[in-house]
Amino acid sequence: MSRLLHIHLGATFAFLYIPIAVLIVLSFNRAGLPTVWSGFSIEWYGRLAANPKILASAWNSVIVATLSTLIATVLGTLLALGVERAKPSPARDALLFAPMIVPDIVLAIALLSFFTLIKFTLGLHSIILAHVVFNIAFVCAVVRARLKGFDWSLTEASRDLGAGHLVTFRKITLPLILPSVIAAALLAFTLSIDEFIIAYFTAGAGQASTTLPMQIYSMIRFGVTPEINAMASIVMAVSFALVLLAQRLNRGRMPGA
């Protein structure tokens, strides 16, 4: 059984990484064609280094994804804790599902119209505000999956022993839900860093609030060049290195339930 599980996990990872392997190969493609191989070259990495627009927009995406994830993870987790302790309410559940269901283009146009109406200045910060909206819903749903049937007697016991709410949260609740919170934050970061249409509509005018997906989609008309594949390959390499580093540093100290 356990062996089958391992094989399945290996196959799943292979499935998830096959296109990534292709993408890395294409980053060494000589011609600028998006889907045709025409010879080896490292030219695109050089061009990437000399393309401040792509690098700056990638950095903007990291800022948007990081901040919207932090805010949404905090608010979404609190929300999940509150909802699971409160009386069930279908109306509130509907509200919590809504950001996932509302089509992106609707939220995009709605937020831009709303920001315009209240004369709110647009920039990177307005993209962050917008991304938190859908991220709250996803974080809340993931953490709630952990809290269904959560044994609240543990926290009550802690309170009975005289611990305050905050101490109880830090010592009892948080360690129990931390893996879910990490899973939720990963999901939020992933949704945000790759989101295009809401970011496009809520961004300020100019390079200062252009995110990487906005930059890439704007290249479609005249060809998405392998510079973007080079960028993605570097993102993969850096993220991989960070995961390995964290794995080494945290040996034996990873959070568990």
Binding site: S38, I197, A208
Partner: protein, 350 residues
């Protein structure tokens, strides 16, 4: 994760964001364009010549910048690069400033025909930047017979079945069938729409895909042998494989025009006019032809290019007078409802 550090981190992030806002508020000119559609050093050169900071925002499609400008009234943008039907709609929605020819002396660089465009005769609210035709792009080494008619695309011979693509953008998709049937590319009466729908639903069975982004790449790989294409994009394929050719079908083409417009919301219309004047310099017109491989209405620019391009890319040699014979796509106004329902019917057909 160290949770107690999060508030500090959030504050730091908030400061970083606020710093970027205050930076963004410095006085400058903001334009929105497709990435790669003008020289990379345009901003530096413009700044050197006029002292005005130029900030370039990017959009992916006409539809997206149009949606954004409609929802926000265009706040923050001074000059937009959009195709002519969108310029026309923006103008009808009163979101554009008039073009003051007195402030744009380089208008003199344009062909006389550039002032005779039907969407905006006399260039009152838009200045043309590039133009061309829509036709058939094909692998002359892989097709049995060279295509000459829109019907070669719409009712393909057996060897082409499953190896053709059509443009996905609604107006051009429909235009192919309108032209094949001898109709105006701006047709919107129900009977004609139904007829064209039946044709396009039938064609759909023989299509490899609808594609308006990578069709030239499909020709190079041999995935497709005949594609519905804009002339400039076909040139990207020709650059990779000399067996790729372009033809305007005998029934004709539309005339597509990309334009520059100044928003009504612009706080600095004089600087915007200076920018358009700068773009109309012969150098920049030349750059568009040589790098984007589009024809431009910029006479001075077209004359400055390496004339051998006209033989490598024969569609570059189509003259302005020939272009003017083709009908432009126009905003359909109230006709859009029936039109877009017809498009949905085609797209949903199995």
């Amino acid at each position: 994760m160290k949770f107690k550090h999060i508030p500090a981190f959030l504050m730091g992030g908030a400061f970083a964001v606020m710093a970027s806002i205050s930076l963004a508020q410095a006085e400058k000119l903001v334009i929105s364009n497709w990435d790669g559609y003008m020289p990379k050093d345009m901003a530096e050169k413009f700044k050197a010549e006029t002292g005005i900071d130029l900030e370039v925002a990017v959009h992916a499609t006409n539809e997206e910048i149009m949606g954004k400008v409609t929802a926000s009234g265009g706040a923050g943008f001074d000059v937009l690069f959009v195709s002519s039907p969108f310029a026309e709609a923006l103008n009808k929605l009163q979101l554009l400033s008039p073009i003051d020819h007195g402030k744009i002396p380089n208008m003199a660089n344009l062909y006389a025909e550039a002032g005779q465009l039907k969407h905006d005769p006399g260039n009152t609210f838009s200045v043309p930047y590039a133009w061309g035709t829509t036709g058939l792009c094909y692998r002359s080494d892989l097709v049995k017979a060279e295509p000459t008619s829109w019907n070669d695309l719409l009712t393909p011979s057996d060897d082409l079945k499953g190896k053709i693509t059509m443009l996905a953008t609604d107006r051009w998709l429909m235009a192919a069938a309108f032209l094949a049937g001898g109709l105006s590319v701006n047709t919107d009466d129900q009977a004609s729409l139904d007829k064209v729908r039946d044709q396009l639903v039938a064609t759909k069975k023989d299509l490899l895909a609808y594609d308006d982004t990578t069709f030239y790449s499909k020709l190079v790989s041999g995935e497709a042998t005949l594609v519905h294409a804009w002339d400039g994009w076909c040139n990207y394929g020709i650059a990779e494989n000399a067996a790729i050719k372009y033809v305007v079908p005998k029934e004709g083409s539309d005339l597509w025009v990309d334009t520059m417009v100044i928003t009504k919301a612009s706080k600095n219309p004089d600087a915007a006019a200076k920018f358009i004047d700068f773009v109309l310099k012969a150098d920049n017109g030349k750059w568009v032809v040589e790098n984007i491989m589009y024809k431009t209405p910029n006479k001075a620019g077209m004359e400055a290019i390496d004339q051998s391009m006209l033989t490598t890319y024969p569609n570059m040699a189509i003259t302005p007078a020939e272009l003017l014979k083709y009908e432009q796509l126009r905003d359909l106004g109230d006709g859009m409802k029936a039109f877009s329902k017809t498009v949905s019917e085609i797209m949903a057909a199995k």
